[in-house]
């Protein structure tokens, strides 16, 4: 804490060196983008648009040979730049600047990419927000053993409602429930083993008490709390790829309490029963309400429909 407080706000070499990276993960539509935008308002933190590439290329490192060889690192970086998420988010506008840093390993390369990004934003410390890393926590932790991980959890029934409102989202309730249960429980368990480098926050708590939760997150990251994280500015939209803004209309606005437990008003009974049947234990694990409704004729028919007819 004191170290962070002493560090000056501009990215000096010393401040850069002391900065431990952090990763925000979570199931889709769980408020990870909202948290990213809040953290980006912090004078020391820079969190780019989803990176997506880290585990992908970690699994393909053998193709590139030793990265101490500058030509290998360059080849890898060029391929990383072609990754759709990297391309979309404009994470690497200046390949030469990244390569001018000392690169001896994959970790160094990833670090260099993000440090360059942070430097451009005038920030001392980088973080990443890629929801898909929720199933890759162990890969991230093996590349960055000292990294801090933040798992954002949101009531799965609200996640399902939110997905249902997207043209690319699934409406298959049992599958969404299974997927939500699997990913959140996996991240929870792996994170529990990770211990004090892992923090779980509920989206609902961020909405209810943004300052309290953001203070907790800042403390976890070893950063001084700055009220700027609570301020929503129009500039937030400039940090999103323009064609992604339509999926994140509410991310850049102050938290809307009506978005919390929306399922209670908007989700059909049959869907609620099906969701709880598939993921009731996980709802309970994260402290969400269970209705324990008895199956109705409607939920049985819908369940059979999803299981057999809409299978493939």
């Amino acid at each position: 804490m004191t170290q962070a407080r002493d560090a000056c706000l501009m990215p000096t070499a010393a401040a850069e060196a002391s900065a431990v990276p952090f990763f925000v993960v979570g199931e889709q539509r769980s408020g990870t983008t909202k948290l990213r935008i809040m953290l980006n308002n912090h004078p020391r933190l820079a969190v780019p648009f989803e990176s997506g590439f880290i585990p992908v290329f970690f699994g393909r490192l053998a193709e590139y040979g030793s990265l101490t060889e500058p030509s290998n690192a360059e080849r890898l970086l060029n391929d990383i730049c072609l990754h759709p998420k990297v391309d979309k988010g404009g994470l690497v506008p200046d390949v030469a600047a990244v390569l001018s840093r000392r690169i001896a390993s994959y970790r160094d390369l990833v670090d260099a990419i993000f440090r360059e990004y942070a430097k451009r934003k005038g920030k001392a410390r980088w973080g990443d927000k890629t929801p898909a890393y929720i199933t890759e926590v162990e890969t991230i932790a093996s590349i960055f053993p000292e990294a801090r991980l933040i798992h954002v959890v949101r009531d799965g029934r609200d996640v399902a409602l939110s997905l249902g409102g997207l043209n690319w989202g699934s409406r298959h309730i049992p599958r969404i429930a299974q997927d939500w249960r699997w990913k959140t429980v996996l991240a929870h368990k792996v994170g529990t083993v990770l211990g004090d480098r892992f923090l779980e926050v509920r989206f609902e708590d961020i909405v209810r008490d943004a300052e309290g939760e953001l203070r907790r997150i800042c403390e976890f990251l070893g950063e001084p709390f700055d009220p700027a994280v609570l301020a929503y500015s129009a500039s937030a939209e400039s940090e999103m790829p323009p064609d992604s803004m339509q999926w994140h209309r509410t991310s850049t606005r102050p938290p809307d309490p009506a978005k919390v437990y929306e399922w209670k008003r908007r989700m059909p009974i049959a869907d609620r029963i099906l969701f709880e049947a598939a993921a009731g234990d996980a709802l309970e694990l994260f402290g969400y309400e269970r209705e324990r409704l008895a199956p109705t004729l409607g939920s049985r028919i819908k369940g059979l429909y999803y299981a057999v007819v809409r299978r493939w």
Binding site: V137, E138, A141, S142, W182, V185, L186, K189, V190, T192, V193, L194, L304, A307, V308, R311
Partner: protein, 330 residues
């Protein structure tokens, strides 16, 4: 904590999906002169871990501890250890005052009764509870035994081990979920604390596999481990023996990859389509051609798993050979 002759030692845990060879590995390790691992504790410890904060009031008072120890002594799973555990040793100073301490004390007293130093617990259910184990015993060592899931499915079917597990789709889904969870949680522990071993490698070259395991456990290798089959009578409850017919002889190498000769192509396809990625990540071969078959069978398994509880009633209507063919038997 060294007192009353009970040294503080780091526990070791054997975890693995059901029918993955954890009982074989337990007997092998138990045959080591320094390791004691009793019969699978199943629901025993997880149940008492939960009860500790409710029924036993957080073990705040010595009376609560005595009550828990007394209840545990009456448990069939503890009696199946077939070892006299003197109450005064279990309650000896310093009195255990948390659930992990009570559990450790039972195992330590068991180990001492057998003249062993290190204690271990083997439980197939804890595969997905590494987070709890790690919290309860922050310095424990964990061995994850992995077996080709298709063999697990075959074994489940031939042993009628658990009701509903003749359903290959169900076993494939659970195998994938539980083994992935365990593998990923284990990856968060240091290599000094988590060890993953394939059952097939244990069978193919037991000496090499057990040597590596002993190195992991910081113990000298003992050839006595290969003599495990001489102790089956005393260490496996008689009424459970039928579940492990091969334990009374040296490792049977043909017990690996049995699915190649015994599994139908449809079942194989269902399994590989469901858990192919995980099979490959553990170095098990899969075939793309096989994974395209068995769609109808998969649909049947799906219906079967949804209706499993009704199947017992239904199977009476079918001739026996037909029930067996479609997994309606028990």
């Amino acid at each position: 904590m060294v007192s009353n002759g009970l040294p503080s030692v780091e526990p070791l845990f054997i975890v693995g999906f059901q029918r993955s060879g954890t009982t074989l590995l337990r007997l092998m390790l138990n045959a080591h002169p320094q390791i004691a691992i009793p019969h699978d504790s199943a629901e025993l410890w997880p149940t008492y871990a939960r009860l500790a904060s409710t029924k036993y009031r957080g073990l705040r008072e010595p009376d609560d501890v005595r009550r828990m120890v007394g209840d545990l002594l009456a448990e069939p799973r503890i009696r199946a250890w077939r070892t006299t555990l003197p109450r005064e040793s279990l309650l000896a100073d310093p009195l255990p005052c948390t659930f992990p301490e009570v559990m450790a004390r039972f195992h330590l007293v068991y180990a001492r009764a057998h003249g062993k130093l290190r204690w271990g617990d083997k439980n197939t259910g804890t595969l997905v509870e590494l987070d709890r184990l790690n919290a309860e015993f922050p310095r424990c060592q964990i061995i994850h035994l992995v077996r080709d899931g298709r063999d697990c499915a075959q074994s489940h079917r031939s042993k009628h081990y658990l009701y509903g597990y003749e359903n290959v789709l169900r076993v494939a889904l659970e195998w994938r979920e539980q083994v992935t969870l365990c593998h990923k949680m284990g990856a968060m522990l240091s290599p000094e604390r988590f060890f993953e071993l394939r059952y097939e490698d244990l069978l193919a070259d037991s000496t090499a596999a057990l040597s590596r395991l002993c190195q992991f456990l910081n113990l000298p290798f003992s050839p006595l481990m290969l003599e495990y089959h001489r102790h089956v009578e005393e260490h496996v409850p008689r009424d459970r023996r039928s579940l492990w017919p091969l334990l009374d002889r040296p490792p049977v190498t043909s017990n690996a990859f049995k699915w190649k000769s015994e599994m139908s192509s449809g079942d194989r396809a269902v399994f590989e389509r469901t858990a192919g990625d995980l099979l490959r990540s553990f170095g098990y071969e899969t075939s793309e051609a096989a994974a395209r078959q068995g769609k109808l069978l998969e649909l049947w398994y799906l219906v079967h798993s949804r209706l499993a509880w009704r199947m017992q009633a239904i199977r009476g209507f079918f001739p026996r050979w037909l029930s067996n063919r479609f997994g309606l038997g028990r």
